[in-house]
């Protein structure tokens, strides 16, 4: 069962949307989830530059997992960073290190774009997620608090 990691294409939009929705359920923001498959097509594949970038994992010709990110073009180091927006593996495909493979691909992408850092947030109750990221070598940022101003 070879797992293929590749950049997402427009034809993957429907399945990417399904995984985005499943992640919204898992992370409990489905009530505010306003994305449709059409929005995925437009924002991710028809706009130039796109609003988000996406890497997918494919197994048996099916999309098994996805990772969505954006670039933060300007940092204090005068180098870009990457913000990891979403990582989700279809529960039917878990246990094959698909999450790790997607993260490794993101790290390669970050190096190729001269990025200084990849950052993201984890739900405080998501213990498996925390363990997963720590095993990769990432650390919790204890220096900064997340603020937001809702409009």
């Amino acid at each position: 069962m070879e797992i293929i990691i590749r950049k997402a294409e427009e034809k993957d939009s429907e399945k990417i949307w399904t995984l985005m929705r499943d992640l919204a359920v898992f992370e409990k923001y489905i009530d505010w989830f306003a994305i449709t498959p059409e929005i995925v097509v437009k924002s991710g594949f028809q706009k130039n530059p796109p609003d988000f970038y996406c890497i997918v994992a494919e197994q048996n010709n099916e999309i098994a997992g996805m990772l969505v990110y954006y670039f933060l073009p300007y940092t204090a180091q005068n180098r870009p960073a990457i913000y990891l927006k979403e990582l989700f593996v279809d529960p039917n495909f878990r246990g094959n290190q698909i999450g790790e493979k997607l993260m490794v691909e993101l790290k390669k992408e970050a190096v190729l774009n001269n990025c200084t850092q990849i950052k993201w947030t984890v739900a405080p109750w998501n213990e498996l997620g925390k363990k997963f990221y720590e095993k990769l070598g990432a650390n919790e940022n204890k220096d900064w608090l997340n603020y937001e101003w809702n409009l």
Binding site: V104, K108, G137
Partner: protein, 179 residues
């Protein structure tokens, strides 16, 4: 021994062909032994040396159009070598836009003389000639000398892989450098 500068200036690089197969086998085995024998069982080493560097295997590697070997020569003696892979010959990733440095080995006696640096720069130039976006390699996690060499040269760790030496499981650190 001559000064560092004299040695560096007198190192030649040549592309290895099938005619030099016995020289290639010799330098491969010797450098592998020098690098790894302290930290691995004799039996595992013996097995790997016999299987990994047989004439058949090295000939096949040399004849692969997507792999290249270079010798570093000093006083007409082979003192180190480089093996790079392109395209599908890469042991992993197999990215068309990448070059894998599979091996850079230098005789112990010539460590600290920048021979590795010269071979490494050759690899970078080969990658640039082929318009690669990046070079990458796997290095044994216990080979701190190599890891610090690559870090010093701008490589970043991006993954870890398990491989087998005899019946021992070992971890390779995967590193890459953007060109």
């Amino acid at each position: 021994m001559e000064s560092l500068k004299e040695i560096m200036e007198r190192i030649d690089l040549i592309k290895v062909t099938e005619q030099e197969i016995s020289l290639l086998q010799h330098i491969s085995k010797q450098t592998f032994l020098e690098t790894f024998s302290d930290s691995n069982s004799e039996e595992n080493m013996k097995k790997y040396l016999e299987e990994g560097f047989s004439v058949e295997k090295l000939t096949a590697e040399l004849n692969n159009p997507d792999s290249e070997f270079y010798f570093a020569l000093f006083n007409k003696e082979v003192i180190g070598y480089l093996k790079v892979n392109f395209g599908i010959s890469q042991t992993e990733l197999k990215d068309d836009k990448a070059l894998e440095i599979e091996r850079i080995y230098v005789l112990h006696e010539f460590h600290g003389k920048k021979v590795g640096q010269i071979l490494f720069e050759k690899a970078l130039n080969l990658a640039k000639d082929k318009n690669c976006d990046y070079v990458w390699l796997g290095v044994w996690e216990e080979n701190q000398r190599a890891i610090s060499f690559y870090k010093k040269n701008g490589f970043i760790e991006f993954d870890k892989h398990i491989f087998k030496l005899g019946d021992d499981e070992q971890t390779d650190i995967m590193m890459m450098k953007k060109l």
